[in-house]
């Protein structure tokens, strides 16, 4: 692979692991969105700090891609937030924020960048195992379900030149999961057949595989990286 790859939410957690994984495979230029210059991972990384929910956010990323001077071969829509509550107590603001960041920003960025992508390129959208349902996450689950639908539709409309897939992580050791109270987290791990949380690097490996020609006959799919939790 030669060219540039955009990774959103690249400052920490899964996004950072994806950016590191891609950057380690140079000569690819990684355009890390949301990442501060001092956190630059390698000489192959171009940091961009922009609010992807702002009207100008996607076009700022597009201009950065164009200035990189390398063909765009990959986009990873990773940025996401949670604002958990039971449906009966969920506020309008918490619903709107999660929908806008997790789904709206991903959709607008994908449609902004798709025309720049070269044949053989790939988009990977980070969904979540919560798209199968998860207590207290009506907004998050809806947004990640929407990401799955967006993935299928873009896979059809961008074929045959560009492949589009989704990765649905389960319980991953990250800043987001560390916000879960320890006793609840332990119960969640007990329900995972592989008996542990996943690592951001394990998600990054799957994303990387979907970006490369190793997965050249796969499009429109959702790959769950969840330690078998969907069975238990």
């Amino acid at each position: 692979m030669n060219g540039s790859v955009v990774v959103t939410g690249a400052a920490r957690g899964i996004g950072r692991a994806i950016a590191e994984r891609v950057a380690s495979m140079g000569p690819i230029t990684v355009i890390g969105v949301d990442i501060a210059p001092e956190l630059a991972l390698s000489e192959h990384l171009m940091p961009v700090q922009v609010d992807l929910t702002s009207p100008e956010g996607p076009s700022v990323v597009r201009e950065t891609v164009e200035s990189a001077g390398a063909p765009l071969v990959g986009v990873v829509n990773n940025a996401g937030i949670t604002r958990d509550a039971r449906l009966v107590n969920m506020t309008d603001d918490d619903f709107a924020a999660v929908l806008e960041v997790n789904l709206g920003a991903s959709y607008r960025l994908a449609t902004e960048l798709a025309p720049l992508m070269s044949d053989g390129g790939a988009i990977v959208n980070i969904a979540s195992r919560a798209y199968l349902g998860n207590f207290g996450q009506f907004n998050y689950s809806m947004s990640k379900g929407g990401v799955v639908g967006m993935t299928r539709a873009l896979a059809l409309s961008l074929a045959p030149g560009v492949r589009v897939n989704a990765v649905a992580p389960g319980l991953i050791s990250s800043e987001m999961s560390m916000g879960i109270p320890e006793e609840i987290r332990e119960k969640m791990v007990d329900a995972i057949p592989l008996d542990r949380m996943g690592t951001p690097e394990e998600v990054a490996d799957t994303v990387w595989w979907l970006l490369t020609p190793l997965s050249s006959y796969i499009t429109g799919e959702v790959i769950v990286v969840g330690g078998g939790r969907s069975l238990s």
């Binding site: 919560a130 199968l132 207290g136 009506f138 799955v148 873009l154």
Partner: protein, 125 residues
């Protein structure tokens, strides 16, 4: 029978319309949950597969995932959340009848019922 049947609106591919439709579904669902009443979303099978563009797809699959989560929460209070998906050309009365049936079936929740054969051989949503 008590509860709400929410038919997904056509939204095209404009994000603002997608956002408005999903917000409308959220408001309807929250009100139903607060009243401890069941609800059913009605979507098109083609949209679960993304075959009519990303806007309608985001709505359909977003509603399916939301129903699954709501079903988990409602199971403690005996209200349900389900989805009915239909093929193009299906008689709307037949779809509505299935939706009513899902409202009445208080032991079935978080389920997707597909009216028609268009889903066979396709991906599981």
């Amino acid at each position: 029978m008590s509860g709400v049947i929410h038919w997904a609106e056509e939204v095209g591919d404009d994000w603002a319309r997608v956002q408005a439709e999903l917000t409308r579904a959220f408001e309807v669902s929250r009100a139903s949950a607060q009243a401890e009443e069941s609800f059913v979303y009605v979507v098109r099978q083609d949209d679960l597969l993304g075959r009519r563009g990303p806007g309608n797809a985001m709505v359909a699959t977003g509603l399916l995932s939301a129903a699954r989560t709501a079903a988990l929460e409602g199971s403690r209070k005996r209200w349900t959340a389900n989805v009915v998906a239909y093929d193009e050309g299906t008689d709307p009365e037949a779809v509505q009848a299935w939706a009513r049936r899902m409202l009445e079936a208080d032991d079935v929740t978080g389920e997707l019922v597909r009216v028609g054969a268009g889903h066979i051989g396709k991906t599981l949503p």
